[in-house]
Each structure stands twice: as structure tokens, then as C-alpha cells.
């Protein structure tokens, strides 16, 4: 497996969480549960954590199915950047770490980058399909765009694609920004 840059373009510093998985659907549940658990720890509400997990799942599925044509031995990288302030656990003095509700542990948003070495496609061609056409398949991109606040596909420098997704945190007592 080849290495990838630890800092994606436009990111301030290296990711705080990175994992590399093989393109085997067996590892889907582990990847989505890890990301959801991190999001929960960063202060995202349960509904958002579920949406983040779903978006990650759909993104990885698309890489496996369309990028790698279901080959199970190709690399997929998942990187997470909390955006905003992340204070050290228990800095507020609460025992539970993150459960105090004073916002000390919460971030403004979570940036997720998924990279692969699959075939490159024109990002403009990665679109949601017409939902009026009820048929199996082709929903992944629509779902990702529906549950995340920002979604950007791009070609990596030499090979593969990069998907950048941002989910903003819902503040208590405030309307959620975006359509997620």
C-alpha cells in the first residue's frame, strides 16, 4: 500500500484521526462506527452522528463499487479534522468528559476526507440521480449530499479521488445550519 500525504490541501495541520482500510465491505461497519463514535465524543447529537456514519458508509461503498470495481484489496484512507476548539477532556472539571454540556468539548464542525487510489473521474460527473425514477441503486451521492453540509469531490494529484465532507454541529437552542 502506498502512503498518502498526512495533510490534505486546505487543511490546517495533519488530521487528528486517520485510518486506512482495505476496500473490503467487511470493514464498513468498523469505519462508520469509529467515525460516529468520534463525532459523538466531539459533541455532535445522536442524529448527526448517525448521518455522519451514513455518509461515510455511502462514500466508502461508492469507492468499493465504482472506484475499485469491488476489488477487496485496495486502500481507502479516512481522515478526520475537528474544526473549532477542542479542549482537553475534563478541562471543565466534569467527571464524564464531554457530558457536562458546557460546550467545552464541542467543536464547530467535523471535516472528513476520504481518499483512494481508484480510477479518476470528472468530479462534475458525480451527481445525484433523479429520485422520481424509482429503481434500485444510485442513491449514495444523493444521500451524502443530503446529510452533510459541504461535499466536494476532486481528483488527487497523481491517482485516485478525494471526497471532502463537512458536518456542522447543531448548537443547543439554535437552528442547524445546512440541510443535514
Amino acid at each position: 500500500m502506498s502512503a498518502i500525504p498526512s495533510t490534505a490541501p486546505g487543511s490546517a495541520g495533519p488530521p487528528e484521526v486517520s485510518i486506512e482500510i482495505m476496500s473490503n465491505p467487511l470493514y464498513l461497519s468498523g469505519a462508520r462506527e469509529l467515525v460516529a463514535a468520534v463525532a459523538r465524543r466531539l459533541g455532535f447529537p445522536d442524529e448527526s452522528c448517525g448521518q455522519i456514519a451514513l455518509a461515510v458508509d455511502e462514500a466508502i461503498c461508492n469507492v468499493i463499487r465504482h472506484g475499485y470495481d469491488r476489488a477487496a484489496d485496495k486502500p481507502i484512507w479516512i481522515h478526520l479534522w475537528p474544526l473549532g476548539t477542542v479542549k482537553q477532556e475534563n478541562s471543565c472539571g466534569c467527571a464524564a468528559g464531554g457530558g457536562c454540556g458546557d460546550g467545552n468539548h464541542a467543536v464547530e464542525a467535523l471535516k472528513i476526507v476520504i481518499e483512494d487510489e481508484a480510477k479518476q473521474v470528472d468530479p462534475a460527473q458525480i451527481k445525484s440521480r433523479n429520485l422520481e425514477d424509482v429503481r434500485p441503486g444510485g442513491l449514495g451521492v444523493h444521500i451524502i449530499r443530503a446529510v452533510m453540509d459541504e461535499v466536494t469531490y476532486e481528483r488527487r494529484e497523481k491517482t485516485g479521488m478525494r471526497l471532502t465532507m463537512i458536518k456542522r454541529r447543531v448548537h443547543a437552542g439554535a437552528e442547524e445550519v445546512g440541510n443535514g
Partner: protein, 117 residues
């Protein structure tokens, strides 16, 4: 070397009168959808009058699971089978709503309601 199990879902099947009730247990994702698809096809080969998919024990479903159910619904329509989904968890229901399929499927709250919906 022991074979690694790729599927993580089991599908229970029950016949009640002229209805068949399929109850998947576990997350229905890209790994598990082929298992559900196979079971749906097996049951639909018998052309039951009613097919209930009870999702009580499905905490998570992705678009591959939804696609599997859309395919089953299309087969059901062709066969004249009444297909009903029931007991969707909020997370599972939300994906049907995002895909705007919540009005395409017959979805009810309980398996009892699914017997008459």
C-alpha cells in the same frame, strides 16, 4: 485458514396464513444486503399474497439495503404480492425519507399492522 464471514445479518422467516414475514437481524449494509436479497428472492419465488419485511431488529441500513428492498418491491408488484415494511427504527426510516421512498413503500409501525395494511 478459516474463512472469514463477510455477512453480518441473519434473516428469520415465518409464514402466517397467506403472508410471509421476513425479519432481518443486524445492520443491512453492503456486506449484508446480498444475504437479504437472496432470502427475498427465495421467498418471492413462492409468490406469497403478502410479504412483510419486519425491520424491528435492523438498527442500521444503507443505500444497498434500500436498493435491495426496491428491487423486491418491483418483483412483488410484478407478482401481485402485497409488500409491507414495518417497525423501522428512526435511523432506518430517515434513509427512506432522504431517498423519497417513504411514500413509495407501504410502511407501518408494527408487524400486526403489516398483516392488514
Amino acid at each position: 485458514m478459516a474463512e472469514r464471514r463477510a455477512d453480518s445479518v441473519t434473516v428469520n422467516c415465518e409464514t402466517r396464513g397467506n403472508a410471509v414475514i421476513l425479519s432481518p437481524v443486524g445492520d443491512v449494509d453492503l456486506t449484508a444486503s446480498p444475504v437479504l436479497r437472496q432470502e427475498l428472492k427465495r421467498v418471492q419465488g413462492k409468490r406469497p399474497a403478502r410479504l412483510v419485511v419486519d425491520l424491528t431488529l435492523v438498527p442500521y441500513m444503507d443505500s444497498s439495503g434500500v436498493a435491495t428492498l426496491v428491487e423486491a418491491m418491483q418483483i412483488a408488484r410484478k407478482n401481485g404480492t402485497r409488500m409491507v415494511l414495518c417497525a423501522l427504527a428512526d435511523r432506518v426510516r430517515s434513509i427512506f425519507e432522504i431517498a423519497r421512498l417513504d411514500t413509495v413503500f407501504v410502511i407501518v409501525a408494527t408487524s400486526d399492522a403489516a398483516m392488514t395494511a
